[in-house]
């Protein structure tokens, strides 16, 4: 390797490190992303100009490949809706994992096809790791994508003896790998590698299918760390420092991020991976409570109350807002209320929605100023003297059952937005059905305080805006 390339790689790695550092705070995050992208450009330019591109042909191939990939990536990234972000990240992660596996495969093939064995055991181990991890990440990401895009396999797909089947596949992979390292005792090494490839696809699929759609962000983060490790393993195959350093960085930081995410959501990683608990939870309870009376109102009544009696309004958005794409009407409601001289705040629970930061992204995209988005600690004091709390498509994040010591629920102990402190509580949702955690909400049945507006979030908000305007 030439010294110039080496230096370029080190600079790129340094930029990645600085970039990740800056991504830790909202103020600097964007510049951090730009720094990391700059590092990537430097690494790539150094590679293209210095790699042994002897034939003009391969130069053209490389440029064409990079161009095609860039256009596809850019168009997809530009077009995707903010609500579809998780599946987009999953897709990008999947192709990255596949690329790592393919690079390792191609190296191995080249050495094998020439009739020489890989120089060292280490190189073979690296090839095997890269192929297995990269392929699992690829296959897992595709399944995650399909679940989130609701193409297929949504919900938790389970079958008997799932863990045992996974273990057997893993064992087969290990045996095949030993065969490769031993130079092909039973099967030719290259054939074994193809079998490993196939088994890894299967393993990736089986790993992700039992996991419920709502746990996907955490799984994607984990697969992200996997792809990092696969890239690092490819780096060992190619003797390339850019890949070793950067891949390892992502592998390690992705692991920590996964742990942070899962703890912020109160969902221990082990539970997510080793069981398909999620799906069954959603349809528990619910049925027998429906006959208790609720204060069922129409949009007109809500508009009247807001317009006549509310001075300070706190809006709490949840997953249903994202599903209904109701961020636009939400913004309109804010504007309408403010034009009548009322104070409006948004209370954003850290786990509202289905992806961390989901609500913030959606609302700022719709035009809500960042400074109106209050997080858990900041909004609870405001709720004390609020006249109304409007909860749109949310349940878990405002469910007082989380703090009920008598109940043992998946959300027990999670801090909630204390909307019951407001004078009036207004729910906008389609039915009495609970949310992600499947826990019924006692606030629904507090007929003195609560108004239930049963409606799709988008339509309901539009109607409220009309009602407020027409007062």
């Amino acid at each position: 390797m030439q010294v110039a390339t080496f230096v370029a790689y080190l600079v790129a790695a340094a930029l990645f490190i600085l970039g990740i550092r800056r991504l830790r705070a909202p103020e600097t995050a964007r510049s951090g992303n730009t720094l990391a992208a700059l590092g990537m450009v430097i690494a790539l330019v150094a590679t293209i100009f210095v790699a042994d591109i002897d034939e003009a042909l391969s130069g053209i191939e490389i440029l064409a490949g990079v161009l095609v990939g860039s256009v596809v990536g850019a168009v997809a990234a530009q077009r995707v809706q903010m609500t579809a972000m998780p599946q987009m990240v999953a897709a990008f992660n999947g192709v990255g994992g596949a690329a790592a596996a393919l690079v390792a495969l191609s190296e191995f093939y080249q050495v094998e096809a020439l009739g020489t064995h890989p120089e060292t055991v280490v190189a073979s181990v690296a090839v095997l790791l890269s192929v297995v991890i990269g392929t699992v990440s690829f296959a897992g990401s595709i399944i995650a994508f399909s679940k989130l895009q609701e193409l297929a396999l949504t919900g938790s797909v389970t079958f008997p003896l799932q863990q045992a089947v996974n273990a057997i596949i893993a064992l087969v992979i290990v045996l095949l790998a030993v065969n490769v390292l031993a130079g092909g005792l039973l099967l030719p090494p290259l054939a074994s590698l193809y079998l490993i490839l196939g088994a890894s696809v299967l393993l990736g699929v089986l790993f992700v299918i039992p996991i419920g759609g709502a746990d996907m962000p955490i799984v994607i983060s984990l697969l992200n760390a996997f792809t990092g490790l696969a890239a690092a393993a490819s780096g060992f195959v190619l003797d390339n420092y850019a890949l070793i350093i950067s891949g390892t960085l992502v592998g390690a930081s992705g692991t920590v991020l996964t742990r942070e995410m899962s703890s912020a959501l109160g969902r221990p990683l082990r539970k997510i991976i080793f069981a398909g608990i999620t799906a069954s939870a959603t349809d528990s309870k619910g049925g027998d409570e429906e006959d208790r009376p609720v204060n069922d109102v129409n949009a007109g009544a809500v508009g009247e109350y807001l317009s006549d009696e509310a001075e300070k309004v706190v809006i709490v958005p949840g997953y249903g807002l994202a599903v209904a794409q109701a961020q636009g009407p939400m913004f309109d409601l804010m504007e309408t209320l403010e034009s009548q001289g009322k104070e409006v705040f948004f209370g954003i629970h850290p786990v509202a929605g289905r992806m961390p930061g989901h609500m913030n992204v959606l609302l700022t995209e719709a035009g809500v100023p960042y400074a109106k988005l209050y997080d858990l600690e900041d909004i609870n004091p405001e709720l004390e003297d609020a006249d109304a709390a409007i909860i749109v498509g949310a349940n878990d994040v405002v469910n007082p059952a989380a703090n009920d010591p008598e109940q043992d629920t998946p959300i027990s102990g999670m801090p909630i937005l204390e909307v019951d402190k407001a004078d009036r509580v207004i729910f906008v949702k389609r039915s009495l059905s609970p949310g992600f955690a499947g826990i019924d909400n006692p606030l629904f049945y507090d007929t003195d305080k609560t108004m239930m507006l049963f409606s799709d979030a988008k339509q309901g908000l539009q109607e409220i805006v009309e009602a407020v305007k027409n007062k």
Binding site: A29, Q78, A99, S106, G247, Y370
Partner: protein, 101 residues
């Protein structure tokens, strides 16, 4: 052998660095952070380019080509989408400060 050991040392130190880099990130930023590190492992594109440059027959050329396209999607798409996400956090920093005060 000497180089291999050194590379292993790099791996270990870089792993510690990676662990250290993420700490107490506000959950607000979890998604962009995931997406940005996702783009960074697109560095495998560098490997794909090297491997395509060294391709000697139609099999390795095809495989290398796919790897390059995939890697480029990962890199460009990843950084682009992260940037789009983060551009929505355009916080008038002052306001946030003010709110805290």
């Amino acid at each position: 052998m000497g180089v291999l050991l050194a590379q292993l040392a790099i791996f270990v130190v870089a792993a510690f660095l990676g662990f250290e880099l993420i700490s107490r990130v506000p959950s607000l930023l979890h998604t962009p952070l995931m997406s940005a590190t996702n783009a960074i492992h697109g560095i495998v594109l560098v490997g794909a380019v090297i491997s395509l440059a060294a391709a000697s027959d139609s099999f390795t050329t095809t495989v290398g080509m796919i790897a390059v396209v995939f890697g480029a999607i990962n890199v460009v798409g990843g950084f682009w989408v992260t940037n789009r996400m983060l551009s929505m956090f355009r916080p008038p920093v002052k306001k946030v400060k003010q709110r805290e005060g």
